[in-house]
Symmetry: C2
Subunit: 417 residues, 2 copies
């Protein structure tokens, strides 16, 4: 009995190891194909991975069967012999759904395995007067449309990542979103209750919730060329968030609440903030402070139109526009110089509304850095706009689902018989 029992444990252990080896090899093959400059053949993959051709072929067959890979005709060759088929990531298989709740818009996008954006939608409305249930119903509608659109394009949404402008627990509860006035809102539960979405999680679709600046920073990290990057991603919206990437890894803090750059004090006895404190950066460099300073607030136009108008005015040399941008950039510079003195980051990425305004924000921001950062004289700091367009958070959210599929393909494929 004891011996028999031990034998069972041994067999189970072996099965686990084999499953884990298969998972590892599937992900390895996908990574080679994803990183290759041109579609590799099975023989190319065997040479690159060190796996046997038979093993590679079995893995590739599984990945093709699971709609993770597609075979494509090779480029014409001049040499003799029939050229081998090339392999590329599938564009009709799993995809990621990114959702975003921000203070004055809701957004959704679908990204396929290749990283291509296959669907995007944004709905601009001021969420602050609305109860969370109404916001979530609207978001559920966007998600349902995205699911239908994905299906029409023969994609299957493997999972959803939701970006929110607040502090989120590991189980998807918003502990606090000061600009929305939300406390302890269970987003996962509410979204799953939407008629078009209920039951999806039971069917294997997963749902995660994260801070919008964190997801945008992850999107930026993976859009860049260096996986070892150390940078501060600054997300400018009505609130100001930050994602801190240290040596290629998002730093989440002791309990997951890092990145509240908008509440760094830049004038400790200054303007009152929604958070209850005084002089927070948000009150000097947030979207509303900038638009108010430029005389563009309260004109009834949507924020993206107002920001575009601000850029237009600044480009034309309008004094009020340039003064408002300079004031915001100085406040940003004070806070960011403090962050660099503390953390020694070599790169600052301007995201959200700051990306299209970077031309006017950068010079005063860089001047504050030169003035305040001890090491600025010999360790330069690069300030640049985000590589992603304005909706980095929702793109980063969708991308995080796709990266999870590519890193753990066995979760998507049926387990081996």
């Amino acid at each position: 009995m004891t011996h028999h029992g031990t034998g069972q444990v041994g067999a189970a252990g072996t099965a686990v190891r084999q499953a884990s080896l298969r998972e590892h090899n599937l992900a390895l093959v996908l990574r080679h194909i994803s990183d290759a400059e041109r579609p590799p053949s099975r023989a190319d993959l065997a040479a690159a991975t060190g796996l046997t051709r038979a093993t590679v072929s079995a893995l590739v067959d599984d990945l093709i069967g699971g709609h993770l890979l597609t075979e494509v005709d090779p480029a014409p060759r001049t040499g003799a012999g029939r050229p081998a088929l090339g392999l590329v990531l599938a564009t009709d298989g799993p995809a990621g759904l990114g959702l975003e709740i921000n203070v004055d818009y809701l957004a959704a996008c679908v990204v396929d395995l290749t990283g291509a954006v296959r669907h995007r939608a944004i709905r601009r409305l001021d969420l602050r007067p609305l109860p969370p249930a109404e916001v979530l119903a609207g978001l559920g509608d966007l998600a349902a449309t995205a699911h239908a659109e994905a299906q029409r394009q023969r994609l299957v949404l493997a999972g959803t990542a939701l970006a929110v402008p607040g502090l989120v627990t590991a189980t998807g509860v918003v502990r606090l979103a000061p600009n929305l006035g939300w406390r302890d809102v269970d987003l996962v539960g509410a979204l799953e209750a939407h008629p078009a979405l209920s039951g999806r999680r039971a069917a294997g679709h997963w749902l995660t919730v994260d801070n919008e600046a964190n997801l945008a920073a992850l999107g930026e990290l993976h859009a860049g060329t260096s996986g070892e990057a150390t940078f501060l991603y600054v997300s400018g919206e009505i609130g100001i968030g930050a994602g801190i990437v240290l040596h290629g890894t998002l730093f989440r803090g002791a309990r997951g609440w890092s990145g509240e750059l908008g509440h760094l004090p830049v004038d400790p006895a200054g303007r009152r903030c929604r958070c209850g404190a005084q002089g927070c950066l948000e009150q000097y460099a947030g979207q509303e402070a900038i638009l108010t300073g430029a005389g563009l607030a309260g004109l009834g136009q949507p924020a993206d139109a107002a920001i575009a108008r601000l850029a237009e005015l600044a480009g034309a040399g309008n004094g009020a526009a340039i003064a408002a941008l300079t004031e915001a950039a100085c406040a940003l510079g004070v806070a960011i110089a403090g962050v660099i003195n503390l953390l020694d980051l070599d790169t600052v990425v301007l995201g959200g509304i700051y990306a299209p305004l970077a031309e006017w924000l950068r010079p005063p921001l860089e001047a504050e850095i030169r003035r305040r950062v001890l090491t600025a004289g010999w360790s330069p700091v690069t300030v640049r706009p985000s590589l992603l367009t304005g909706d980095a958070a929702v793109l980063g959210a969708a991308g995080s689902v796709v990266r999870a599929v590519l890193a753990h393909p066995a979760r998507w494929l049926a387990p081996p018989a």
Copy 2:
């Protein structure tokens, strides 16, 4: 010829692996002895490590021969049989020399393998008017005295770690120490030129230089009970530095310049700082700002006496003393609240002059944290004085040498024959 060559490479590879295995096992045995509640026997070590008794005995013999371990009589036992000898870390073997240059003192200390402080010396003098060569000659004298004292106590200094209040390169050059007015000072080269120290490095003694707050934070980490701690160590001296420990690891930044907490702006248009900027924390909460506020500056007394007098006055309810401490604590609170909003650290350790003043600094500092940190309502932050006494940096420096010996004992022992 080729075959013979390959055979040599193979043999060398095997030798390297064996040396690395021996290094690993030596360190494993030392760690068990260091962590044990009472001196373990060789048999205890074999049981705890899974190594054979013969292997453990050979390792222990090497460690005793190298003066890393000592055998001690066991505690009396009631059972039958002759009790086995216990093993403890040696107190007559290698030790670490910690040195510190600060703005108004030089310090040295010797710590043995058990962590006991065997020698300490501090020389108070304002270093700011002195050229670096004169400072280093004085430090060399302290180091020579420490070497002589170690020898008298039958200790051998395995290495030296030097703490400095500035930004240090990996090769031991101070790039910038604003409060000393130093730029590009080669400390390693200068110290080795001291008559009493020259030639030691060639004899295997190593010398490292690091920022004082970093070394103090490492000392605090190893003095604590949790190796996975995340905390901000705040070093209050004439300057204010910080060591950031994230999940048990010191975070050094993209290029090694992290921790310049003293130059976080707390009043961006306020007082001029020695660094060239305005409103830096140092100008509001540094030692000179506090003593000036309390009316204790420029009285010709050494700083430690002035700080002790300040604590005495505050304890007696002196209004000026309490007001000066409150003002400093509020400025510290503004800066530290920003750090916590950004990094989500759960613990703040008050070191340097802040440790003996913690009783008066904590209440206003904690009030700023409650007021400004978004998560303060549900994720409490602990503010506490350093576990080490005032000279945490020099203790941390000496400790870093001892930890290096314990982690890499083969570097200290002669290589195997």
